[in-house]
């Protein structure tokens, strides 16, 4: 019996005999701690997002007006309009005050509120990365469980090999390849999907929904192909840790069918690392995947972030950075709050 198996037994034992009352009474304090931590992190992000992007060299006004005739007076008007003529600390207090009331400033290049630009692109990103997220998490967890259960076999080796290969492929390259093969078409494969964008812009109602779904296929496939490997590997190794445990032998000895042993006993115990990963990925979902959004011209946050950085459009960069970071913080906090329910030892 290996020591790994031994620890698995120990892991299982306290979970089964957890003193529930004690855990419950500790939970509010645990929650309060986590929420306070999240609040502090959010504030730190607010401060960082302001000062970090002030380090980008360059005069934003000069950038905005580069390449066209602008009088010195007009340059001064811009500076005043965007508050760039104020001392840095004043810009900062102004920024914090407004951020608290939900105003992230006005984009230099689009002359529109940052909040509007973000809410415009956010649903598109969520649609793309959300769909991909559901699929790659499900696929990764499913194949990961399979691989671990039959580990060392041909299926496992093929599975992990393929996942590792896809995981290491640059997503933009895979995307371009898919465009060439499945979109433009290579004999004898016909072009099946649009080359980019999110919609044709003519359909309405159900036809519009289907049109968007049609545009969604290739970017989602690219994301799933590149991302599922991670879930697969984490699930696989977590489950492998549990594999030799005595309680599984016991379960089998009771005469339970093999897939019941896997589903009801082994998988729930191996879930924690996967759940962590799922929540981290869920947070990242908001940030979108810049490269995939670029290759497929998906009108989401990733593309917006790229445009904001290239100016640099400070209010937009700051706003996006804050939203990205906030999403990750939020999801990690949620995961923290969920752990005690999955494993009562956490948070006591």
């Amino acid at each position: 019996m290996s020591s790994a198996t031994g620890s698995a037994v120990e892991k299982r034992a306290p979970a089964a005999a957890a003193p529930r009352e004690r855990a419950r009474s500790a939970y509010p304090r645990y929650v309060a701690g986590k929420l306070a931590g999240a609040a502090v992190s959010l504030f730190a992000v607010l401060v960082t997002s302001f000062f970090l992007f002030r380090l980008i060299p360059g005069d934003p006004v000069k950038f905005m007006t580069g390449g066209r005739p602008v009088s010195a007076e007009q340059l001064a008007v811009y500076k005043e309009e965007f508050g760039l003529d104020l001392p840095l600390w004043e810009q900062f207090t102004d920024y914090c005050g407004k951020a608290l009331s939900g105003d992230l400033g006005t984009s230099y290049q689009f002359h529109a509120p940052v909040v509007d630009k973000i809410t415009e692109a956010l649903p598109n990103t969520l649609l793309l990365t959300g769909t991909a997220f559901v699929l790659y998490t499900a696929l990764g967890a499913f194949l990961g469980t399979r691989s671990a259960w039959r580990h060392g076999g041909l299926g496992d080796r093929l599975n992990t090999g393929l996942a590792l290969t896809l995981y290491s492929i640059p997503s933009f390259w895979l995307g371009l390849l898919l465009i060439i093969v499945l979109s433009v078409g290579v004999d004898p494969i016909p072009g099946l999907f649009p080359t980019g964008g999110m919609e044709s812009g003519r359909e309405e109602g159900l036809a519009h929904v289907l049109d968007v779904a049609h545009h969604l296929v290739l970017p989602v496939v690219t994301l799933v192909a590149v991302e599922y490997g991670q879930t697969l590997l984490v699930t696989r190794s977590a489950l492998l840790d549990e594999m030799g445990s005595d309680y599984l032998t016991t379960a089998r000895a009771k005469g339970l069918r093999d897939d019941l042993v896997r589903r009801r006993h082994a998988v729930p115990n191996a879930l924690l690392p996967t759940v962590t990963l799922v929540f981290v990925n869920l947070g990242r979902t908001v940030a979108g995947v810049i490269l995939v959004e670029t290759v497929f011209s998906w009108p989401g946050l990733g593309g917006l972030f790229y445009q904001a950085l290239s100016v640099p459009d400070l209010p937009l960069v700051q706003g996006l950075f804050f939203v990205f970071a906030a999403a990750v913080i939020l999801m990690n906090t949620l995961a923290d709050l969920l752990y005690p329910m999955l494993d009562p030892r956490v948070g006591r």
Partner: protein, 621 residues
């Protein structure tokens, strides 16, 4: 270990049917999808709106910054405004000379300070109202009085004293001082009755209510940020309706994807930003139904020398190498640049050798140095010039500065521009032979060191307008920053009295021929002083589908470009190909069937899964 393997092998027995079913379902979905969608790709488009509409789809790489003519500065947005609003004047597609637009004729007063334009009476706004001089006067006055409205085109009205509309067909502009660019006022004239309701011009983006009221060849009917801009032909356009019913600008962030879309026929035209790469152009050249247009560009590509950065108040700053203040050194450096090699090797033939500041497509202003003036490629003579200037080589062959240290020039280059890097390598080689070392500073943001004057040389380039006033103005002393802390309009800190005198003369010269002569003298002065070494004029490389576009006007019409013209000629003139198979993005019927098939398969799989779950639940205990 063994045990695990046992579990594994033991399990396969009662599962193969499910695996096979899954595989079959997957294959079925793919087959259904391909079968349903494939024919639609070739099918005639015209989906959505009116069936049979001729749609011209243009792939663009730039997103719209604003649809308000008072705010928009990007090429795509200003091109859209050219299509949707009339300007006072336009430029002839053939040779760029000024022709009537909203104004049919114009004249200046003897004191050169009052301009009177006759506004055409056959131009209507798309809501049915008449376009009048009052609209034009209101547009200019708004820009003169509201800083928000001056955001994009404020420079055009900087010298205006007063603008009035004594009658619906008469516009009078009074100037503070004479200005030769009065027939090149590239300002969209907007309808007063619509725009006077706007509260804050600095925030109004004109992108909520469609169709947008305009009087150009197209009417803006729909816009989705970073997706598409849709325009419909204006059937009542005074010059005549466009031949295509609809014009769509579709956004492609990735140029390779845009080229793929052209190959597939999803778009009719691809320009790239600013140009297709030589590799893309070459790959498209052999394709059926695709024509690559390799046209003379409107840009110049140059090497600028730091002439000693300074502010208007006389303060010197920056750290340009003092040796470059010697004209002989600058000329020598430029005589050691093989422009032909740059065109052949770096631009792979998609460019023209440079000399004067304004590209040859603007033929009336184009300047070529005379035989004796020309600084032709001659490394030996360059070395001799450097010797004469007192910059001699030491025993190691290194050329020494006046301080006795070897010369080492820092060149600012754009990290994102492969041409800069490639040319930089050649410069290292060519100037290395003169004993001068070269350090390439390739940065994402060259603006900062540039503004601070912290460079010796820098890669530089501008797009030139039909009226060259702006690119000439950025080398005047007036463009220098007020103090080192300020930002001026200067490109390169050049301040030369002789050049300035010429600049003032051309701006006050209303005779086109005489003005062109002065502009050539200015370029000659720039050439001689050697602060700007124009190495090449990169071509505009673009491509379109001949099965969708039968003909299209280039500018200049003999051999010119299509995208980003000065005017609306390309899209206004484009004639649909007979096959009539214009592009339009997706295709509804095929998509519907394809996706429906996919959904059916997915639902099937879901049912199957549920059945399996129930079966295993029954198995339990």
């Amino acid at each position: 270990m063994n045990r695990h393997d046992q579990h594994g092998s033991g399990r396969t027995a009662h599962r193969p049917w499910r695996t096979r079913l899954l595989a079959a379902a997957g294959a079925g979905a793919l087959l259904l999808a391909s079968g349903a969608v494939a024919p639609s790709v070739a099918a005639k488009e015209g989906d959505g709106g009116d069936a049979g509409d001729k749609v011209l789809t243009v792939a663009v790489a730039q997103s719209v910054d604003s649809l308000s003519p008072f705010l928009a500065v990007r090429l795509l947005s200003t091109s859209i405004h050219r299509l949707t609003y009339e300007y006072l004047t336009n430029y002839d597609a053939k040779d760029n000379h000024v022709i009537p637009g909203l104004a049919t004729e114009w004249k200046s007063s003897p004191d050169k300070l009052t301009w009177t334009y006759t506004i055409r009476s056959d131009s209507k706004w798309s809501d049915g109202e008449q376009a009048t001089a009052e609209d034009a006067a209101w547009t200019f006055n708004t820009m003169m009085t509201d800083p928000g409205a001056a955001t994009a085109n404020g420079s055009f009205v900087g010298n205006f004293a007063k603008v009035t509309a004594p009658s619906p067909t008469q516009l009078v502009i009074r100037l503070k001082k004479p200005q030769a660019t009065m027939t090149a006022l590239d300002v969209p004239i907007v309808p007063k009755h619509v725009w006077e309701k706007v509260d804050d011009f600095s925030k109004f983006n004109n992108d909520k209510d469609f169709p947008v009221v305009g009087n150009g060849p197209f009417v803006l009917t729909d816009y989705k940020p970073d997706s598409y801009v849709r325009l419909k032909a204006n059937k009542d356009f005074w010059r005549g309706a466009p031949k295509f019913d609809e014009l769509v600008f579709r956004y492609y962030k990735d140029q390779d994807a845009a080229v793929a879309a052209l190959r597939k026929g999803e778009v009719s035209f691809v320009a790239g930003s600013p140009s297709l790469t030589p590799a893309q152009a070459d790959s498209l050249k052999g394709e059926e139904n695709i024509r690559v247009n390799d046209a003379p560009g409107r840009r110049f590509y140059a090497l600028a020398t730091n002439p000693g950065a300074r502010a208007k108040d006389g303060t010197e700053f920056g750290d340009g190498d003092p040796s470059l203040l010697d004209q002989r050194v600058r000329n020598a450096l430029f005589m050691a640049v093989d422009r032909k090699a740059i065109v052949d090797k770096v631009f792979q033939g998609h460019a023209v050798e440079g000399a004067g500041y304004i590209p040859p497509r603007f033929s009336s202003y184009f300047f070529e140095p005379s035989g004796e003036q020309e600084l032709a490629y001659d490394p030996a003579k360059a070395a001799q010039l450097l010797d004469e200037a007192g910059y001699r080589t030491d025993s190691d062959g290194k050329r020494l500065g006046k301080d006795g240290k070897p010369l080492d020039y820092r060149i600012l280059c754009h990290a994102t521009d492969p041409n800069d890097k490639a040319v930089g390598k050649y410069l290292q080689e060519w100037w290395g032979e003169l004993g001068i070392s070269v350090t390439l500073n390739c940065l994402d943001n060259v603006t900062d060191p540039w503004l601070a004057g912290k460079y010796d040389l820098a890669f530089d380039g501008w797009s030139v307008n039909p009226d060259p006033d702006f690119v000439l103005s950025i080398h005047t002393c007036a463009a220098l920053p007020a103090t080192p802390k300020d930002t001026g309009a200067t490109d390169n800190f050049i301040c030369d009295k002789k050049y300035d005198d010429l600049y003032a003369r051309q701006l006050g010269e209303y005779d086109a021929g005489k003005r062109a002569e002065i502009v050539k003298q200015m370029q000659s002065r720039l050439y001689d002083t050697g602060y700007m070494n124009v190495m090449a004029y990169p071509n505009a490389v673009e491509a379109y589908r001949t099965d969708q576009i039968e003909s299209i006007t280039t500018m200049p019409s003999a051999a010119g470009n299509i995208y980003g013209q000065d005017g609306y000629w390309s899209w206004w003139s484009a004639v649909p190909a007979d096959s009539g198979d214009s592009s339009g993005g997706g295709s509804s019927t095929g998509t519907v069937i394809g996706i429906a098939a996919g959904v059916v398969v997915l639902v099937g799989l879901g049912v199957l899964f549920a059945v399996r779950r129930r079966a295993s639940a029954d198995d339990r205990e």
